[in-house]
Chain length 208, copies 2
């Protein structure tokens, strides 16, 4: 797959470092075409990764006060902005799926995508993605919690959504969403209210 900027190359009159940066900015336009499983609340279609990433960033701004540990909000926003970028080449891996080569595909995608940037920025972007994936810092834990809470809200609004996927039960949802509690007891409490009430209303299957 050629990179987008190769279709209409940026003029050489633009400084090389800036040209690399703009080439990357153009390439990540592809994130808008990576579809997720979640249905929007506002329209009858699936969400894409770029919209999703924006939504998480907005949630970080609004919900940071619920983090159990102090977090650097600006840094947490950076984590959610970049967390799905590798899906541009690796594709979305649905939460309720069993994928075996996801990590391998995403590592290759990261090398290729971040390699478009000047070396110092390639390292910085890769570090953000690695931090998100490792979930060791309070910021990464909170970012991951947003990534799990947001589709939970969309499933609530859809009165089921991906909770109705084959093989998914309310207990499976609880298990996959429990990482929210590693970042915020208040948000996980609210998440459990939604999951429990969804099960009670028959929007997810009971049993494990």
């Amino acid at each position: 797959m050629e990179i987008l900027a190769d279709q209409t190359p940026l003029p050489d009159a633009i400084d090389e470092r800036l040209r690399s940066q703009l080439t990357f900015v153009i390439e990540v336009d592809r994130l808008k075409t990576v579809l997720r499983q979640s249905p929007l609340a506002a329209a009858p279609r699936r969400e894409n990764d770029a919209e999703h990433s924006w939504h998480l960033a907005m949630m970080v701004v609004l919900l940071a006060e619920h983090s159990d540990e102090p977090i650097d909000v600006g840094h947490t926003i950076r984590l959610v902005l970049v967390h799905d970028l590798v899906e541009i080449y690796a594709g979305d891996t649905p939460l309720y799926s069993a994928s075996t080569d996801q990590q391998e595909r995403e590592e290759a995608a990261a090398d290729r995508l971040f390699g478009l940037l000047p070396p110092d920025q390639a390292v910085a972007m890769r570090a953000l993605w690695d931090e998100f994936e490792a979930r060791v810092t309070p910021e990464a834990r909170f970012a991951k919690a947003m990534d799990r809470l947001q589709p939970l809200l969309l499933n609530w609004m859809a009165r089921g959504g991906t909770w109705k996927s084959p093989g998914v039960t309310a207990d499976v949802v609880r298990a996959r969403k429990a990482v929210i509690g590693e970042a915020s007891s208040a948000l996980w409490e609210a998440g459990q209210v939604l999951i429990d009430e969804g099960e009670r209303r028959g929007w997810s299957r009971s049993g494990s």
Copy 2:
């Protein structure tokens, strides 16, 4: 227009402050349905405001070094995340249009939308939007520069895009994009290369 969360109300078991925040988080899902004029680089369709806002946030992270004045990157990201929210109720106003009641519509939209939040956060979000609009701080100037540079890149990739709108010439484009130069001489220089080259190739009309 009822708010989205009224379609599937959040249970009262969720704490009131958090319920207000989640109600807002659900409502802003609508930003994904507000279409802009710009065509995507990665697919044959128009861009929506949520994707656009994510793209600007990514650009702030990558291009901040080109600001002529020091900026707080985390704060600048917040400005671009919220800058189009009022369009949820007020709609998008294309750059190359003459709108007379835009400000009035957007003020009313801000009151309504931010009013869903707890009062302290309503004030904070409104302050971010006002700061972006006033373009007085270095962060707001840089945020606005991103807002003008991003569609310029998309028009370049589309070999014209909205540059081909009725009444638009290369000089009109230059005049509307000159605010980029208030934040970054390097980015405005690159922007002018793209506008000049686009005019030379016939992707915009010459003359004023």
